[in-house]
Amino acid sequence: MKTVMPYLAVLVLPFTAIAAEPPAAAPASPPVTMTLHERHGHETPIRKGFTHTGGGNIDVAQPSPDTVIITMTGVAVAGPHPCKESVATLDFNLDQCFEIVFDKPETKKAKLTVEARVIGLLRSHKGGGAAQWEPAAVTISSGPTELLTLAVPSHSVSGGDSLSVNDHQGPASVSVGSGKLNLHQAFVLTASHPGKWHRGKTASAEFAPDPALDPLWISYFEPFHGANKKDFGFQVTIKIAPE
C-alpha cells in the first residue's frame, strides 16, 4: 500500500489542480440590452420562364445583448426562354419586435444605432436581360411612429454590364427610451430576360454565399471568377448604448 500511494497521489493531483482553478470571469452585462420578441420573416420566390433562385435566408443573430445583426441572402437568375419572358424575384420581408431594456434605473435614454450594407454581384449579358435590387431598407418604429429609416440605394445592370457591389449606409442613430420597438426590413432581388432564346445568356443578382448559385446557371466566361462571396447579402447591424 505504501508503494501505491505516491503514484495515486501523482495521478490525483492534477485533477485537484483543475478543480481549484478560479472560474472564468463572466463578461459584464451592458447597461442597455435588446430582447428579441416575435418575428415574421418571409421570403417569397417568384419564378416565370427560364429561371433559377437560390438561398432565401433571413438570419437574425444576437451576438451580444446590445447588438442584433440581420442578414438576408439570396440569388435570382433569369435567362432567355424560347417562348416567353423570364423573371425571377426574391422578395424578403421581416418584421421583428424587440424590447429595449435598461438594466440600471439611472439610465433614462439610449442611443439606437443602425447601419446597413449590401454586398453582391449583378450580371447581365449583351444579348439581353437585366438584374437589380430594389432599395434595401430598414425602418425602426415605435407603434405608428417611424423613428428611423435607412436605405441602401438600388442598382441595376443591363445590356452586357455587370457590377460588383459593396455599399454601406449609416450609421444612423436615434434616441430611444425603454420599451418595445418594431423593425421592418425589406429587400427585393430581380433578374429578368426577354424571350429571345437564340441569343444571350442569363442575367443574375447574386447576394448569397456559395452554394446558393449553381455555377451552371451563369456564363462560364463570367466576369467575377474567384470572387470571395462569404459576406454576400443585405446586412443590418443594430446596436444600443446608453446615451
Binding site: W197, L216, Y220
Partner: protein, 396 residues
Amino acid sequence: MLQFLCLCAALPWGQTLSAEAPVPPPPAATAPDRWLLLKALQGTYPGWILDSQRIQVNGWTEGSFTASSARNEQLPMGFNYRANEFLLQQNWLRIERSVVTSGTSEPTYGFRFDNILPGSDYRFTLARGVFSEQLTARHGQPSTYGIDPIQFYGEANFPTVAQGLDIKVGRFFALYGVETNDAVSNALCSHAYTFIYDPFTHTGILNTLKLTNSWTVQAGLVIGSDVFIDPADEPTFVGTIKWTRSDQRANVLASAIAGSGRFNQAKAFHNPEVLDLVYTYKVNPLLNYSFESLLGYTTHVTDLGTAWWFGVLNYLTYDLTPRLSATGRLEFFDDEQGQRTRFPGLYTAFTTGLSFRPRKSIVFRPELRYDYNGESRPFEGRHGLFTATTDVILRW
C-alpha cells in the same frame, strides 16, 4: 507497482477508443470536364437542358502531318498512313449521358454516341454494314475522308448488384489493349500494329460487373468483330477479367474474343480469335509502364489455312512537367503468314514522342518512329520506314 502499470496500460486504451477518428465520407463523384462547346452554352437555355439531363456534348479535331521516308503511303502502318501530307484524322463528336456509378443506390440510365465526321481514321475503324460503301467509293478504293458512327450504345447501371453492374447495348469499342480509338486517350499519335490489325468495335450486349474493388469481369455477346448488321454476322463472345492492386498502382487485364474463328470465305469476312493481356504499373507518380501481349488466329483463310499473328507492346511514359510528358513505345508484331498486313514477317517498331499541352484543350504530339520488317519489304518495297509525325488535338 502492478496496479500502476495496469493503469498506465489502460489509460491510452481508453483514450484511443474515445478519440477514434470519424469515418471519412465516401469520395464525391468527379464532375466531368467541360470543354469549349459546353462552356459556350453554359448559361443559355440549350445549355441548361443539357445540364439538367446530364448530357455532355463535346468533341475534338485532330490533324497530323507525317514526314516519311516513303513517297506516298506508309501502309501497312495505318491511321497516319499518308506520307508527307496533312491529314484530318479525327473530327470527333461525342454526345453522352453518363450513368451515375457512385453516391446512389438507384439504377441510372445513359447513352453514348461517338462519331467521326469526317476524318481519315474512318478507313480503319469502319464496321461492315455501317456506311461501309465508303471503302469502295473512289473507283473501288476508299475515300480519304469519311464518317463513322464509331460508338453508339444505351447503358444502364445498377449500383446495388455486387459493387455495380453496367449493361451496354449497341456498338462499343473493343475491350482489350493499351491503345484505343479516340485520339485523346492515347499517348502517341501513331498506332501500334497490334492495335491496327485487330478489331476496333463490337456490336451487341456487354455486361460489366464490379465484384470487389480489385476484381471486375466483363462478358458480352456480339455479332462479330468490326461488323454491324450484315450477312457476315455470327455470334461471338467477348470478355475480360481485370485485377487492380489495392493501392491502384498496378492492374492486369486479360481479354478474349471467342467466336467460330473461321474466315468466312463466302462473305470474305475475317473472324479473328484473340487473346490479349495488358499489364500496367505506376512505377512512381511520374513514371508509368504498360505491357501488352496479343495472340490472334483465324482458320480457313483462303490459300493460307490458319493464319497466326502475335504482338508484344511496351509503353513507358514519363511526366516531365504537368504539361509535358515523354513516351517511348517498342513493339514486336509477328504477322506469320502476312494475312493481317499482306506482308509476312516480324515488324519491329520503335517510337518516341512528346505530348505537350500548352492549354487544357490543346495537345501537340510530335514523335519519331522507325519500323522494320526483315523478312518482307512492306514499305513501298523497302524493309524499313522512318517517320516524323506531329499532330495537334483541339478539344471543343
